[in-house]
Amino acid sequence: MFGEQQRFVLLLIAPAALLLLLFQVVPIVIGANASFRDWALYNPKKTWIGFDHYAAVISDPAFLYVVLPNTFLFMVLSVAGALVAGLMLALLLNRPFRGQKLVQTILLVPLMVAPVVAAIMIRWIFNDQFGIVNVVLEAIGLEGQPWLVQRWSAFGIILLTDIWLWTPWFTLLLLAGLQSLPKEPFEAAAIDGTTTWRVFRFLTLPMLRPVIVVCVVIRAIDAFRTFDIVWTLTGGGPGRSTELFSLYAYVHAFLNLDLGRGSAAAIIGGLIILVIGVVLYRLVDRIAKA
């Protein structure tokens, strides 16, 4: 039925495809099925209701005017922040200096601790009473802030935590990319006396393009569905002002026990990120090429 090559090709992906089918496709299909039904977790009637859940989510002003803008803003700032920080750190680590190994190890610290625990720790660090940030501010004569009851400072803390958590990733991938660049163009540039900035702008950056594209696209998808650190840090508050899309889905499915509505919200979000991913891939690729 299949040629020898096709058999080989299919066998290569068979184990991955099987696992994917059993433990992702099946649950996702169950979730998708639930999104068309009256499926409360405590009382799964499972009657077909068509697109009612989708209509309810799309017509929810909170979803349209708070949750989605927050999510987009978070995605852009988080990816940009981690990319810039990661690029700077990768450039820094790509030069020899005493203690380079130690610095490199310390930069990996965020990868070593469970994100949820780190988020609790950061929440306490920014507490207005016992948080060390306010203690230090007050010790040097500045006014402590109630960081988590103001929308933008709360948003900033979430962002900072996320960038902290993901910068090591960018650093590792970009550093690996930097170290694999060919030496010749850089040597030629040095002989020409090209400035540091121009070397970076016209040599390093274009040559890192493939790495950056993959990093940005993968990370953007992840950033769009960030959940645990936001839930721990602010729970979407104060008063829903830092709610992201995955929190919206979580609140419906887990808190209100409405699996149908929660799944519908999750699928809408999944579709949005699907499109964004494709657009982003094209866009980043073009920017990096230019």
Partner: protein, 428 residues
């Protein structure tokens, strides 16, 4: 090494169990719970009974974070995982149709009538579905070294003046601290509302779903009492500065941490915290804490008490012989006087059997206080609502009042009016 050996045994056992060994060994009961002092003490009674009757008690701890959702999913998928599970008034009606009726647990007649009311725990046929574990409710704690019993604030206005005085005298940094964020509304929002003839839905204090529906699930967001409540906390934060500025985002951990550090004179927390507040290993104010009734707002003169239970329930889907065994165990727990005294000692929660209360109160001053000011109080309030949409209503409520209290004072009425339809809608 011993740990390693034990792990290997456990791992092998798990593998055996996984390969289908979970057969019908009836002399075993599986308890789905959440590790905390009160549940641990209650399970200790199960284990005492099990040791006597040759029944193995298998403890299956669950994390609080996903307890309700996992347990609900487990109950509706009829998966045979637990014989006895932790139950709480908050989801009494959410689970009622999935639980075994417990009317034939004879010792339930000794349970507190108020907290076992059908409105909370009865299924559609009017059968009760819970056996109590202990009474759980919050009380108003104060620093007995700073405030004499006769000086304890009786009204919300007095709470402000007393706090300001203590702060002016340099005794504490803040007068009051209490949780305020989502799922911590009880520790500031709810008690101050209840003390002012106010509640989440109208009419106030009503928990009969039929009557709430007849009133159109109307939220009290636009009532004057709600505006008073929000303005009270707004002033407490910004004008009088008697509470921490970050308090609208506080959960119970943060509020209790501030209180236990000695930085605040008053708080509201679950009576179960009595033991922790007075434990020198955990608290800087051990031995300097007392409790009393809640201060009241301008619209209410009669004191009130909040009283609910935690309990145990039996999934409907398990085999009849397991149900029978589970009921025997719960019956024995209800009658275990020594165990229940230990439960009170370990937690400060009044035990489930009301017959023991007088005796414990005679021996323990905290129990005496709880009995007088809460358990025997004629004016009681229930801590939650008893319909499945309650978590959604609670969240809509908390989001609205948080927005109002963190915004401008002149916008409070506007924000509450915007939130009113959201609260009502969440209930339907």
């Amino acid at each position: 090494m011993q740990g390693l050996a034990r792990w290997f045994v456990a791992a092998t056992a798990a593998l055996v169990a996984a390969t289908g060994g979970a057969a019908a060994q009836v002399k075993e009961l599986r308890v789905g719970y959440q590790p905390s002092p009160i549940q641990d003490a209650s399970i200790a009674m199960f284990e005492a009974w099990g040791a006597k009757n040759g029944v193995k008690i298998v403890k299956v701890p669950n994390s609080y974070g996903v307890y309700v959702e996992k347990m609900t999913a487990s109950l509706t998928s009829n998966s045979d995982q637990y014989d006895v599970i932790w139950h709480n008034d908050d989801w009494g009606q959410t689970w009622a149709h999935l639980l075994e009726p417990t009317d034939d647990v004879a010792a339930n007649k000794f349970a507190d009538k108020w907290s076992m009311a059908p409105v909370v725990f009865a299924n559609a046929q009017g059968q009760n579905t819970v056996v109590p574990m202990g009474q759980t409710f919050s009380v108003f704690f104060y620093r007995s070294d700073l405030v004499k019993p006769e000086e304890v604030p009786k009204t919300l206005a007095e709470l402000v003046t007393a706090s300001k005085k203590l702060q002016a005298d340099g005794k504490v940094k803040f007068g009051y601290v209490g949780g305020m964020s989502m799922n911590n509304s009880w520790f500031s929002w709810f008690w101050s509302m209840w003390g002012n003839n106010c509640d989440v839905l109208l009419p106030p204090y009503e928990r009969d779903n039929a009557k709430l529906a007849a009133a159109g699930w109307k939220s009290s967001m636009t009532e004057p009492c709600m505006q008073q409540t929000v303005e009270y906390w707004w002033d407490a934060i910004n004008t009088h500065k008697i509470v921490p500025r970050g308090m609208p985002a506080y959960d119970r951990n943060e509020a209790n941490a501030v209180f236990m550090s000695g930085d605040a004179a008053f708080t509201v927390a679950d009576s179960l915290w009595w033991g922790t507040f007075n434990d020198p290993a955990k608290s800087k104010i051990a031995g300097k804490v007392a409790a009393t009734r809640f201060p009241l707002g301008p619209d209410r003169a009669r004191p009130f008490a909040w009283d609910d239970i935690w309990g145990w329930a039996i999934p409907k889907s398990i085999a009849p012989e397991r149900k029978k065994l589970a009921k025997e165990m719960l019956e024995a727990m209800m009658l275990d006087k020594e165990g229940q005294k230990k439960l009170f000692k370990a937690t400060g929660a009044p035990p489930p059997n009301t017959e023991f209360w007088a005796e414990i109160a005679a021996e323990d001053s905290f129990m005496k206080l709880l009995k007088e000011s809460v358990l025997d109080s004629p004016d009681k309030v229930r801590g939650a609502y008893y319909f499945p949409q309650w978590p959604a209503v609670h969240k809509a409520f908390n989001d609205t009042v948080t927005r109002a209290v963190t915004g401008k004072r002149e916008d409070i009425a506007k924000v509450l009016a915007e939130g009113a339809p959201l609260v009502s809608k969440a209930a339907q």
